[in-house]
Amino acid sequence: MGLTSKSTGTKILDEDIFKNSKTSDFTIGLAGNPNVGKSTVFNGLTGMHQHTGNWPGKTVSNAVGTYSYSNKTFLLVDIPGTYSLMSDSEEEEIARNYICSGKSDLTVVVLDATSIERNLNLAFQIMDITPNVLICVNLLDEAKKKGIHIDFELFSELLGVPVVGVTARKKHTLNKLTQAIYDVCNGKIKPSPKIHFSKQTSKSNTVSEILKKSEEICQKVCTYQKQDYNERDRKIDKVLTSKLFGIPIMLLFLGLIFWLTIEGANYPSQLLAKMFSALQNQLYSLFEWLHAPDFLTGILIDGMYRTLAWVVSVMLPPMAIFFPLFTFLEDLGYLPRIAFNLDNCFKRCCASGKQALTMCMGFGCNACRCRWM
């Protein structure tokens, strides 16, 4: 999907969503911090294939999808991930405008089970705007791996809104969420946030208060079975970002991908080239049989067909190899580490480490280019 001004601007809010909301029974907003799996929840519920990625800031515009449950249709709006609703970045503005507009009957706030404390900040800010909130704790499998236990009943009681736990990657766990959304929309469960924050003189005071409350709630609700629950991740991170190994490991990874792409693409390329040239001979005989004039054969076969065949046989295999490999690296969560490692270099060019990802993507094109030469 291209990022045109139409797909990222605030305009899209009003037009598309409003149009769709007339044909569905309920409108549900899906909010949460960046990289907590909102898009995965969205895809799981709607059966759509919104691009999901393991890096923050992937969704920059509201995506819309529908699903039905018990004869009711639900319009689901995937709001860009934000840490708060108080800042000025475009994503936050889109998110804030949408939640404040009151167009949705219910806002589902997705939290990362492994860092509930930080995620609660946004949840509280949303509950301050609208009482119709449902908390969905995602990534339960990750939390389980890290020995984090969450008491959902207590959580729900403390907040005054329903809380469900899911692992969006495993679709069957989303049933609980659909049921809860249905119950809230039909008035069977009435969310009434218990915790309110007095209007403070400054935002910083409000946020301090929210953070204090989050800490308190988190202490009651989460139990950490392992004291060193993050130990393994930290160790890996330390190696991947160390002075000694950080850069070599990165070069090794990228080099390996590059090499696999260039070398691996040779075989399918040859196969495609062979297939296309066989077809070309067939076309020649066809044109001869039709007594086509020479110039026509020249334009259509020697010109158009041959170039097209060449481009496809050279470009398609490396792309078909590079992008899945890159996705694999992305799923490992390695890309943010590259960004972290290279930030200082990119900073010198007045860019940020995040651009390293775009640069790596560009390798895909380089691989094609190398083969072309």
């Binding site: 934000t82 840490y83 708060s84 108080m86 800042s87 000025d88 492994t114 860092s115 404390e117 930080r118 900040n121 935002k203 910083s204 946020v207 301090s208 953070l211 989050s214 800490e215 993050n230 930290r234 991170d237 330390k238 970002t241 160390s242 002075k243 950080g246 850069i247 972290f340 490692n341 930030d343 200082n344 270099c345 900073k347 480490g353």
Partner: protein
Amino acid sequence: MKHSNGIPLCNLELNKKAKVIDLKCSENELRRFLDLGIVKDTILTPIFKSPFGTPTAYEVRKTVLALRKETAEKIIVSEAE
């Protein structure tokens, strides 16, 4: 409570816990800090550095976030137990 002996966060040694005592920054940056959950009294621990020295990863509220040196020097901390 002694406020005078605070040091900028970027000068804090790795794996030393510290508590935020002051944020010396503009309104915009302050908001960014608030989003990330950094306010007065927040506990931060630097856990690892990028190969080029900056940015540094800090553990805050059970998550990890990376701050550049220029950003971290605006956060004044005092070592905490």
